[in-house]
Amino acid sequence: MSPRRGLRPSLAILALVLGLLAPAGASAVLPDEVLDDPVLEGRARDLSQLIRCLVCQNESIDTSNADLARELRILVRERLTAGDSDQEVLDFLVARYGDFVLLRPRMTPGNYLLWFGPAALLLAGLAGVVLYFRRRRSSAVDGLSAEEEARVARLIGQDPDAE
């Protein structure tokens, strides 16, 4: 076995770890947008990932290069600097663009189906499987009755009492 082959698994693990540690998407935040206060900037980054860019609709404003996304990133930072809570910033945007601007749907009665629908379907499926197996077990027979034994023997041409 060559030493090269021995190295491979560790390299693979290193690549995997690096890959998992890397951010999921590269940020589009430009240096001139970044706030001096690291805490506020951190909140801005977290919030930006929850806000949909309305130009390239399945991207967050954190990763989008669109002009509108840039202006929204600056707006989020301005509002945070002015003392808004995270929720107030999101409410500000929802008031203008509706729930659609949120990448994570809110927990409102209208969205319950969205949040709990898949879990409810899974539970219903599990309940169905459990019911099915229970019913099958209860109707299973322990063995053949004497009458059935006799009938089987007759059908395969052997008389159990003959021998």
Partner: protein, 181 residues
């Protein structure tokens, strides 16, 4: 009988889901349409400067609250669909049935001015929104977008994308007529 009805449940579920998918595939559905959050709400507060060198005043919230129905159109010289809807706005302005107001979205003043010089200016007033902040307050996600504002300054309709002749005939004009009564 109830037991047998239970067997129809998966079929029923399938029908519901398939129906939903069919609706999603419907050719007249535009998945890019963002449902408007500002319908029946007062137009946002704004005060935009005029376009330099154009003989029209700027645009502010007060201009939407003077008891007349208004059409507010967001446009830009760099926007090709705006060019497509432009003749319809010219016609609408000429018809005199509604005040046509413009907001120049993220445009250079000289470009916007040249554009209006070349294709005609349907706008009674033009406000310049150079950073797009007023557009954000209107919930605009791109140009062109068109709003119908009632006499009290409330947003009654938001049209996303270029206006077609059919939009004007079927939606805009009837709405303006009913709001003007």
């Amino acid at each position: 009988m109830p037991r047998r009805a239970l067997y129809l449940l998966p079929l029923l579920l399938f029908a519901v889901i398939a129906g939903y998918f069919l609706w999603g595939l419907a050719s007249d559905r535009n998945p890019n349409l963002v449902p408007s959050a500002l319908i029946d709400k007062p137009a946002p507060a704004f005060d935009l400067p005029p376009l330099e060198g154009l003989d029209r005043p700027g645009l502010a919230t007060a201009d939407l609250q003077n008891g007349e129905v208004a059409l507010v159109n967001f446009f830009a010289s760099w926007c090709l669909p705006c060019r497509a809807e432009h003749p319809l706005l010219m016609d609408l302005a000429e018809s005199g049935g509604v005040r046509v107001l413009g907001i120049a979205y993220r445009d250079k003043p000289e470009d916007a001015r040249r554009w209006l010089g070349q294709y005609g200016n349907p706008y009674e007033r033009v406000g310049v929104d150079d950073r797009g902040r007023t557009s954000i307050d209107f919930g605009v996600s791109g140009v062109p977008e068109t709003f119908v504002i009632d006499r009290g300054g409330r947003i009654r309709y938001q049209h996303i994308g270029p206006l077609m002749a059919s939009d004007i005939e079927d939606k805009i004009v009837p709405l303006i007529e009913s709001l003007s009564e």
